[in-house]
C-alpha cells in the first residue's frame, strides 16, 4: 500500500549573493493516515523549508528544487514539485493544510475571522456565502471559541494569542484536510495555553482522521504528541524512528547531544547541563563529509578521516530506526 505522503530525495536550495544556500539536502520520508510525525531540529535545519515544499509554496524563480513530493489520495497521485500551479492550488487548503507559528501575522488584520474562514471554504466547495458562514460558525464552535455565533464577526486583534491559534486551526480544518502541517504551532504561546492547543490538535486529528506533521524545536512537545520522529541537522535527516525508540535509544550523536542538553523539570536541581560544543555550520559552505562532524564527540571512534571526507547515508541501525552516521548503533551506544 502506498503512503499518504512520500517525500523522495527532496533538495531545496536558494541562490544568494554569498553562494548557494542548501536548505534541505536529499530528504526522504513518508507519512501515513492518522499518524503524527514530528520534525525536530534547531533553527536553520530545514524543517520549515521542507514543509513549505510539501505545500508547494516555494517561488520557483528564486528556488532550486529537486526530488519528489508525492501525495496519494482517492483521486490519484500528485507530485507537488512537478504539478501545475492549478493542481497544487486545489491540494493546498483542501487535502493539505497548514498552521503557522505566529497567528497574528498569518491572519489578515482587515477582515473578520469569519470572512477569512468562509473564503477558505468557498475556494474548495460549491455553496453560497450563507452556507459558508454556517460552516464557519460550526468550525469555530468545534475548535473551542466560546460564543462562536457572535465571535465570527470579530477581527483577529480582538482575540488573544491562544484564541487566534484556535481560529487558525479552524481555518486550516474547514475543508477537512488529510494532512495538516503544524509549523511551531505553540511556540508563541504560554505553557498553559500550549497544553490547551495541543489537546485541541489531538482531538481534531481524531475527529477528521488526519495525518499531522508537527514541526518543532521543543522536545517536550514531541514526547507528548508524536508517533514518529524525524531529527534534522543542517538540512539533512540524521535520525528517524518511533518516538519511544528516539528517546530511549537515540543512535545519532546529534540526537544524543540534543536530548542531553534539554533542562527538565523532573530532573534534580543543580546538575550541570550537557552541551553540544560549537554551533551549526553555515548552509552555504557545508562540510564535505558529515555535517555534524565538527561538533561530534563520537567522530574520534571512526578510523581515519572518514567522517570528514565521506558523507554518511541514511542506514537502518535498529528495528524501524534509521540514522545517518558512520558508526553502528552498538558502537555509538558502547561509548555513551
Amino acid at each position: 500500500m502506498s503512503h499518504l505522503l512520500e517525500v523522495k530525495n527532496l533538495s531545496v536550495s536558494f541562490p544568494t549573493d554569498d553562494g548557494l544556500v542548501q536548505a534541505t539536502d536529499d530528504l526522504s520520508f513518508h507519512l501515513d493516515l492518522g499518524e503524527t510525525l514530528a520534525i525536530v531540529g534547531e533553527s536553520g535545519c530545514g524543517k520549515s523549508v521542507s514543509s513549505m515544499a510539501i505545500m508547494g509554496l516555494h517561488n520557483p524563480k528564486s528556488t532550486q528544487i529537486s526530488g519528489q513530493v508525492l501525495i496519494n489520495t482517492v483521486l490519484g497521485r500528485t507530485d507537488v514539485i512537478t504539478a501545475s500551479s492549478e493542481e497544487v492550488r486545489k491540494l493546498r487548503g483542501g487535502t493539505v493544510s497548514m498552521i503557522f507559528q505566529d497567528p497574528m501575522s498569518a491572519l489578515h488584520p482587515y477582515f473578520t475571522v469569519g470572512d477569512q474562514i468562509s473564503e477558505a471554504w468557498l475556494l474548495h466547495n460549491d455553496g453560497t456565502k450563507s452556507d459558508a458562514r454556517k460552516k464557519t460558525i460550526e468550525m469555530l464552535d468545534l475548535v473551542g471559541i466560546p460564543d462562536a455565533k457572535s465571535r465570527v464577526d470579530s477581527y483577529p486583534h480582538q482575540f488573544s494569542g491562544g484564541m487566534r491559534q484556535r481560529v487558525m486551526i479552524g481555518m486550516a480544518l474547514i475543508n477537512q484536510p488529510k494532512i495538516l502541517i503544524a509549523d511551531e504551532p505553540t511556540t508563541a504561546l504560554d505553557v498553559t495555553v500550549q497544553s490547551q492547543i495541543l489537546m485541541l490538535l489531538k482531538e481534531m486529528q481524531r475527529e477528521f482522521n488526519m495525518a499531522v506533521i508537527l514541526i518543532t524545536h521543543d522536545l517536550g512537545v514531541v514526547a507528548e504528541v508524536a508517533d514518529r520522529v524525524n531529527v534534522m541537522y543542517a538540512g539533512r535527516l540524521v535520525e528517524e524512528g518511533g518516538v519511544n525508540e528516539i528517546y530511549r535509544n537515540p543512535v545519532h550523536p546529534y540526537t544524543i547531544g540534543l536530548l542531553a542538553s534539554v533542562p527538565r523539570v523532573d530532573q534534580a536541581h543543580g546538575t550541570r547541563l550537557k552541551t553540544i560544543p560549537g554551533q551549526p555550520p553555515s548552509l552555504i559552505s557545508l562540510p564535505s563529509g558529515c555535517a555534524f562532524e565538527p561538533r561530534c564527540e563520537f567522530a574520534k571512534y571512526v578510523p581515519g578521516e572518514i567522517c570528514k571526507v565521506t558523507r554518511p547515508e541514511v542506514e537502518l541501525k535498529l528495528i524501524d530506526h534509521h540514522a545517518r552516521c558512520h558508526l553502528t548503533a552498538q558502537e555509538v551506544r558502547s561509548h555513551l
Binding site: 488573544s160 504560554d190 528517546y247
Partner: protein, 323 residues
C-alpha cells in the same frame, strides 16, 4: 536583612496608556501590583510567569529603568526608590542587565569591542592593563575569539551575540545582574552552553542573579529560589526543590503540569491540569484573588478577598485554599 543584596517591598508599577487621537479612554495598566522579592548574596532567584504577568517590569523597575509607582527598593542596604538618575549612576556599576533579544540589544554600528567596553567609558574607569586587553580577556572568558574585537554584531550568531551581551554585563564586575529571558531566543544546544556559562560566572565573580524567565525547566535548573508571578502578583515563593516537588498554589501546580517533559513514557502517563481561558487583562484585573477566573478551587471568598502571601509548609503562598 544584611545578607540580602536586594530587598523589594510592596513594589507597584502602573502604566498609563495614552488617550490616542480618537479619544479612547485612558487606562491604567496595573503591571505590578505589590510585589516583595529578596535576593541574597550569591543567590539566583528565578522569577517565572506567563507573558503579561509583570516579571519583566519587576526586573526593570528594580534597576530603576522604570520609576516605581509605590513600594521600596533597597539595594545593598541603601533605599534607592527615590534616587535620581545622577544618584543612580555610580550604583549602576553594581547592577547590570542581560536582555532577551541578542539582536536588538546590541548597537549594530558599534564594534564588539566598543559594546563590551561601554561601561568603562560611561563610568570613566580604566581597568588594570588597559581597556583593550580587558575586553579581549572578557571575550575569551565568555567563549568568544578575542581577535574578533573589531567585528560588528551582525557577524555573530544568536548564541554568540548573547555571549557579547554577557561580556558587557560583567565587564565592570557588578554584584547583581537581572537576566531577562537570556536564553529564550536560543536553540536548545546553544541554550545549554549559555546556562552553564552564567553558572560558571556566578561562582567566579560571586554574582547574584534575578533570573526572569517563562521556561520553568531552565528556571528550575539555574535558580536557588523561585518566585511565581501571575497578573502582577506573587503567587508562591519557595526553594527550587520544594517548589517543583510540592507546589502549594493551584496556579503553580497547573503551570508545572503544563510543562512538557522530554520523555514519551512519562509524558503520556502524566495527569495534566488544563487551565481554562486566558490571562485576564492587567488593565482590569479580577477582584479578590487575580487567579480566581481560571482556578478550579475558586469560591466566593476568592472573588472578594485578595489572599496574602503566607507561610505554608516551607513555602510562602498567596491562596485561600492552598494544596
Amino acid at each position: 536583612m544584611s545578607e540580602n543584596i536586594l530587598e523589594v517591598r510592596g513594589l507597584l508599577k502602573y502604566f498609563e496608556s495614552s488617550g490616542g487621537v480618537i479619544g479612547r479612554k485612558r487606562q491604567t495598566i496595573k503591571a505590578v501590583g505589590g510585589v516583595d522579592i529578596s535576593v541574597g548574596i550569591g543567590e539566583t532567584v528565578g522569577l517565572v510567569g506567563e507573558s503579561g504577568c509583570g516579571k519583566t517590569t519587576v526586573g526593570r523597575t528594580i534597576l530603576k529603568l522604570y520609576e516605581p509607582t509605590a513600594g521600596s527598593i533597597i539595594f545593598q542596604g541603601q533605599d534607592i526608590t527615590k534616587f535620581s538618575n545622577s544618584k543612580m549612576k555610580p550604583l549602576r556599576a553594581q547592577m547590570q542587565i542581560i536582555f532577551q533579544d541578542p539582536y536588538s540589544s546590541l548597537n549594530p554600528r558599534h564594534t564588539v569591542g566598543d559594546i563590551v567596553a561601554s561601561s568603562f567609558y560611561i563610568h570613566k574607569l580604566t581597568p588594570e592593563g588597559g581597556i583593550k586587553k580587558t575586553v579581549q580577556e572578557l571575550l575569551e572568558r565568555v567563549g568568544l575569539n578575542p581577535e574578533h574585537i573589531n567585528r560588528f554584531p551582525h557577524e555573530f550568531s544568536g548564541g554568540q551575540r548573547q555571549r557579547i551581551g554577557i561580556a558587557r554585563a560583567i565587564a565592570i564586575r557588578p554584584k547583581f545582574i537581572v537576566a531577562d529571558e537570556p536564553v529564550s531566543a536560543l536553540d536548545v544546544s546553544i541554550q545549554a552552553q549559555i546556562v552553564n556559562l552564567l553558572d560558571d560566572l556566578q561562582k567566579e565573580y560571586g554574582l547574584s542573579y534575578l533570573f526572569v524567565a517563562h521556561d520553568l525547566s531552565v528556571v528550575q535548573h539555574i535558580s536557588d529560589r523561585v518566585v511565581v508571578m501571575y497578573l502582577g502578583k506573587v503567587m508562591e515563593v519557595a526553594q527550587t526543590q520544594a517548589l517543583f516537588q510540592s507546589p502549594h498554589h493551584p496556579y503553580t501546580k497547573a503551570l508545572l503540569s503544563a510543562v512538557p517533559i522530554p520523555d514519551p513514557a512519562i509524558e503520556r502517563s502524566r495527569e495534566r491540569i488544563i487551565l481554562n481561558g486566558d490571562l485576564p487583562s492587567p488593565a482590569n484585573p479580577p477582584t479578590g484573588c487575580v487567579f480566581n477566573t481560571r482556578c478550579w478551587k475558586a469560591q466566593d471568598k476568592c472573588r472578594s478577598v485578595a489572599p496574602q502571601l503566607l507561610q505554608v509548609g516551607a513555602s510562602q503562598v498567596a491562596c485561600h485554599f492552598p494544596e
